[in-house]
Each structure stands twice: as C-alpha cells, then as structure tokens.
C-alpha cells in the first residue's frame, strides 16, 4: 500500500499496463522526456523506452488519428490530450473513427483506445483550460466516458479502461490531481466500467456526483448530517453508459435527488440523469431533480472561477431546498 495522489495513481496505472501488455503504448504532447505537463507519465519513458512512450508533434488530430491506426494494427494506445479544451482539434477523429470503427467493420477492427484528458476548473489556468464538457462525449455512441473522483479509483478505473476493448474517454479532474492522497493497493486493481458506487448510504436524499464534484458533495453530505439529514451519495464514475440501476434504486428509496456537476447546466449530464429518473422513477419523486451545475457560461478566468463552480455551501443549500427544509 502506498499513499498516492491522483496524478501518481494515474501514473501507476499506466506503468502497470505498460509492464503487463506489450501492445500498450502511451502517446501525446510532452508525455515522454518531460513526463507530461502534469507529470502523469513521469519516468515511463525511462522505463519503457521512447517507442512505447511517444512524444508527439503538436497536433491533436494527429495523436488520435495515429491512435486509430495503431489500434487497427494491434496496439492499445493510451493517448493524452494535454487539456480537454484542446481535444476538439481531434473531435472528428473521435466522432468519425474512434467511436465507429468496431461498428462499421462489424467487429473486425476494434478501438481499444484510451483518451486521457485533464478537465475542469480549479488550477488557476489560462483560457480553455477549465471546461468540463463530458456531455459531448457521452452523447457519442460507441464511446465510454469514465471520470474518477480520487486516487484509488483513478488507478483502478484507468487500469480497467486500458483493458477495455472499446474506446474510453478518461476525463481526469485536474483539480484533484494533487489535492489529496489515498492508500492505493500494491496489487493490481480494477473497477467495473459502467458501474456507479454508493459511497455514502442515506435515505433522505440522493446526491449524484463524480470527478472533482464528488469530494464537495461528500462534504456537503457531512454538513447535512449535522442537521440530521441522511444523504446518500453516488459516485457515478462512469458517465456513459450510465448505471441506471444504482441511480434508480437510490431514488426510489429517497424520492429526492440532487445532481452535482461542473459542466454547464443546459444539455449537460444532469439533464440525462434527470431524464432517466423521469423514465423509471417519476412517481417516486417528492421534489424536482435538482441540478447543481455550472452556469451556462464559459468558466470565468480564474479570479472568478470559484463563482462558477458549485460550492459546498451551494450544494448544501440546494439539498435543503430539495428537502424543503
């Protein structure tokens, strides 16, 4: 057992995958000699060589397009987009090819590709470095979208994503990269993609979150506890495909739901979660599903970014609203 922060955990998962499977390669801007601008790939090039830990030219479509070809030819690329805000340069390769190759070749060519992208606000970064747009990817058939909320899960989910025979958008909450450490087991560990976890049991209200919003939601749940509110917290972990079962089971129990995400509210992940609840548990609802989300604006530059992000206080207040207390 080692105490790791999330970036170390991500690094560990890649190191294990490289050691375990010769077909795994890492590629992206600055992932080699530099070890990644967040140090996610630190020391990997020394251990596995530059043919497997590949510094690429500055071209995102190049990185993903080459990953497609690599996957066709038997490799398992783990590609890094330096920030999720620069993955759009590769959007066409992802939508047109990564998400479709298995389907269009009836399974002949598959896309065991992981695309890692740091996302979200909270690190005093420049423009285009703070968005949270997992909904784009979640709306794209053929992809899976995985978002860890802490070091241990990051390692286990990334390991599972690399093993997954289908393409995974691995969205990393960069605000959590170094925010806390956790015990991460020495032995390999994976989590099932497509499964959410009830990380806190309760019966008064269901709070659904993931990524950087999970710790805040947990904190809010603890504050609510002081007022006697027993909040159940679900860590989604996989945003697509959604684990409807876990969500619906909880909602049927509590009848009240809060969804917390930093993505913009409109047409965001919360809308789909709300719609699934509508589909399967409408008449269990005692209050509207409450979306505590980013506003429908661009995240302001970092001096005012905190106003954009759902705060613990806001989550608590909204939970009370939903509980009518």
């Amino acid at each position: 057992m080692a105490e790791l922060n999330m970036i170390q955990a991500v690094n560990l998962a890649m190191r294990e995958a490289l050691a375990d499977d010769e077909s795994v390669v890492i590629l992206g801007q600055d992932v080699g000699v530099d070890g990644g601008i967040f140090r996610a790939t630190i020391d990997l090039i020394e251990e596995f060589g530059e043919e497997r830990v590949i510094d690429t030219p500055l071209a995102e479509s190049g990185i993903i397009g080459m990953s497609v070809g690599m996957a066709v030819n038997g490799l398992k690329p783990v590609a890094e987009m330096q920030f999720s805000g620069f993955a759009y340069q590769a959007f066409h390769q992802i939508e047109n090819h990564v998400a479709r190759f298995r389907w269009r070749t009836s399974g002949r060519f598959t896309m065991p590709i992981v695309i890692r992208m740091p996302y979200g606000a909270g690190v005093r970064a420049l423009e285009h470095h703070s968005e949270s747009r997992e909904a784009y990817w979640a709306h794209t058939p053929g992809l899976k979208v995985v978002i860890p909320s802490g070091p241990r899960k990051a390692r286990a989910l990334l390991a599972a994503s690399i093993k997954d025979p289908d393409p995974v958008i691995f969205y990393e909450p960069k605000a959590l990269y170094r925010s806390f450490k956790e015990e991460v087991p020495d032995e390999p560990e994976t989590l099932v993609i497509g499964k959410a976890e009830v990380v806190r049991a309760g019966e008064d209200i269901t709070m659904i979150a993931y990524g950087a919003m999970l710790p805040r939601t947990m904190e809010a749940a603890e504050r609510l506890e002081k007022d006697g509110v027993k909040a159940e917290v679900i860590d989604l972990m996989t945003v697509s495909p959604l684990d409807e079962e876990t969500i619906i089971t909880s909602v049927k129990k509590t009848g009240r739901v809060l969804v917390v995400h930093e993505a913009a509210r409109s047409f965001g992940p919360g809308a789909e979660i709300c719609a699934r609840i509508n589909d399967k548990a409408l008449f269990y609802l005692e209050a509207p599903v409450n979306r505590v989300a980013g506003y429908d604006i661009h995240p302001p530059y970092f001096a005012r970014e905190h106003h954009y992000l759902p705060s613990v206080a806001r989550i608590v207040d909204e939970a009370r609203e939903t509980l009518s207390i």
Binding site: P57, A59, M66, G69, M70, V72, N96, W103, R104, S106
Partner: protein, 367 residues
C-alpha cells in the same frame, strides 16, 4: 556571406514512360515480368468494367451514391501492385480497382453501396481498411498502422491513397508530418484527378505541384503521369523500397483525371466544360497500356474481347449474388443494427434493442 542558403531544395521531378500514344521511353522502361504486366492490365480492365456496371446499377436505383474511378485505374493498380499481402492498403473512397485487386469483392462493394453495413466485410487477416468517407482522415490511420509495423519490426508497409482535395485538410498535413517525423514505412499516393467535386486544383492550392508539398515534411516527393501505369509502377517501386528499407515515407502525386461525375449525386456540367475533359479521353490509361502490351505481343484483340466477356459475365453473376444477399438481409430481422457498437452491449442498449424488437413485432402485426 550572410545571405546564404539555409536549405537546398531539389526540384520536383515528373516521370512519364508510356505516352498517350502508347510509345515507351526505352531508357526508363521498367523491367516488369510479363505475367505481372498482364495481371495489371486485367486488374485495370476489370476495374473499368466494374465501375461501368456500378454506374448502371446506380442509375437504375439499385444502389446509392458512389464515386466512380474511370480514368484513374493506372494510378491505383500501378501502385497497389507493389503491395504484399502483409502490407496494408488504406484507401480513400475512390479506389475500387485497388481494393478489388487486394481481394474485395464486387458483391461486398455493391452491398455497401446498397446501404447495408454488411458490405464492409474485411476478412480476418486481410490488411485492408474499408473506404474512408471523411476526406483526409485516413492519412493518420496509415501513420498509426505503420507505427505498429515499425514497433514490431515487421517489414511491411502501409500504402495510403488520397485525392488532390484532401491535401487541403489539416489531417493531410498532420498525417504526412507524423509519418515523416517517426520515419514510418508509408507511401502516400495522391490521385490528383484535378477536381474535388467542383473545385479545380488551381483553387485548391497555389503550389505548382502537389508533389512539392513533400518539401514541407522533409521527405521525397515526385510527380508522375498517373495515366501511365509504367511510370506509376516505377515511382511506387522506389517509394516502397524506401519505405521498407529506409523507413522513410514518400509522397507520390499521380497526375490523372476524373473522367466521370464526382459521385453519382454530382452534375459536372455545372462546373466544367467538355473542352477540358476531351484531351483526357485521349490519355486513357487502359488504351495506352493495351497498345504497349500489344506491341510486346502479350495481348491481342481476341484476348481483350475474351477478358471483357468473362468480366461481364462475372459481374452479372456478382450482381445476382448481391441481390440474393440483399433479399436475405431484407428478410432477416434487422436487430443487428444494435450490434458491434461495443464488445459488450450496455444495459441501456439492450433495453432499446428489446424495445425495437417489440416495435418490429407490433409493426409486422399492424401490417
């Protein structure tokens, strides 16, 4: 001297061996075994007949939109003939002749064109990608495939086709650059057919040739008469060797012409004059190759007629087969539309599939 040369750039060469009239430049004539010459001829001819048949099928409403290859057979066959089975073919969407030479069947191509996913049918072990509709994206796939080859130290190569229009896409640039930077065994074959739908080459780029775009990536580029199969063959041979032994990509520009519509949804009379097309009719790649082979005594009119007859029959039968498959597929249930999105179908898809099954029953029931 302070105003000095920073980089010496070679001029771009143009290679032509067999001219419009079928006359060969003896100094440059490559030494191609007779059976290969004949095989290439047959592949071109079959491509032509196949294309004509496909156009007919489309005009009869039996299949949907497709991109005819007429006039570009030499560019495709002269290059693809260098591929070993273990090499990779990465086509754009206008390489039916090359694809068939590699093993694709008319049946599958037509099935696909008739709107059935099943037409994309690449046998296990075949090193062929299906056609690529988004223009230019496939250059990067070629780079990735070639990376895999190099990574495993195989001696294969990847041959990637694209059009003149594709050279304007960012992915062309990124693809060639990646292949160059990593020293990958790729041969990029640009079929410069002078048009990208209605856009003439002169509005696509200000550069005199497409071959010179290679200069930007520090790799060799050459322009060849794309309707001259000997030139295409010779230039590709060099490039394939360079890829295999030096792990260096090459950009080959085959100057050819799109004799037909862009696709069957297109009406070229809106944007080009017959005056421009006419001279190209005389440059037909099959005609001049025929003259050459006849002079060599490898071909006569009877043999040509026999081939054409055999191909026509083969194509008739192929369409019969295709119709049968269509019929079969139409009567099978269409639940397969939910297949192959993922290795394991997630619950919401299973639910939708069940719903769809239910709807099918309902609709069958209602009429």
């Amino acid at each position: 001297m302070s105003r000095r040369v920073a980089a010496q750039i070679d001029d771009i060469e143009y290679l032509s061996i067999l001219d419009e009239t079928g006359k060969v430049d003896k100094d440059l004539e490559p030494d191609i075994p007779e059976d290969i010459l004949l095989n290439m001829y047959q592949a071109m001819l079959f491509g032509r007949r196949f294309d004509e048949r496909m156009l007919k099928l489309q005009r009869q409403g039996r299949i949907g939109t497709f991109a005819p290859i007429k006039g570009q057979e030499a560019a495709q066959i002269g290059s693809a003939f260098h591929l070993r089975k273990t090499d990779w073919l990465i086509p754009s969407f206008r390489e039916a002749a090359a694809q068939i030479w590699r093993g694709a069947t008319p049946q599958d191509i037509w099935l696909f064109a008739a709107g059935y996913n099943e037409g994309v049918n690449i046998p296990e072990g075949a090193h062929d990608l299906p056609l690529c509709v988004p223009v230019g994206t496939q250059l990067l796939h070629a780079a990735g495939i070639a990376y895999g080859i190099k990574y495993r130290k195989e001696d294969g190569i990847a041959m990637c086709f694209h059009g003149d229009g594709a050279t304007s896409e960012g992915d062309f640039h990124e693809g060639v650059n990646f292949a160059a930077v990593y020293g990958l065994p790729v041969v990029f074959i640009c079929q410069n057919n002078h048009w990208a739908i209605s856009l003439p080459l002169s509005k696509q780029t200000r550069s005199e040739t497409i071959a010179q775009k290679a200069v930007a990536y520090g790799i060799p580029g050459i322009q060849v008469d794309g309707n001259d199969i000997l030139a295409v063959w010779a230039a590709t041979k060099e490039a394939v060797e360079r890829a295999r032994t030096e792990l260096c990509p090459t950009l080959i520009e085959c100057v050819t012409y799109r004799m037909e519509v862009h696709t069957t949804a297109d009406d070229p009379t809106r944007y080009r004059e017959e005056d421009e097309v006419a001279p190209w009719r005389k440059r037909d790649p099959i005609d001049r190759f025929e003259t050459y082979l006849k002079k060599k005594g490898l071909l006569d009119d009877k043999a040509i007629k026999d081939l054409n007859d055999a191909y026509q029959e083969q194509l008739l039968k192929a369409w019969d087969d295709t119709e049968k498959r269509i019929h079969e597929l139409d009567s099978a249930d269409p639940l397969s539309i939910f297949d192959d999105l993922y290795e394991e179908s997630p619950p919401h898809l299973e639910e939708q599939k069940a719903y769809f099954k239910n709807r099918l029953q309902k609709e069958a029931h209602n009429g």
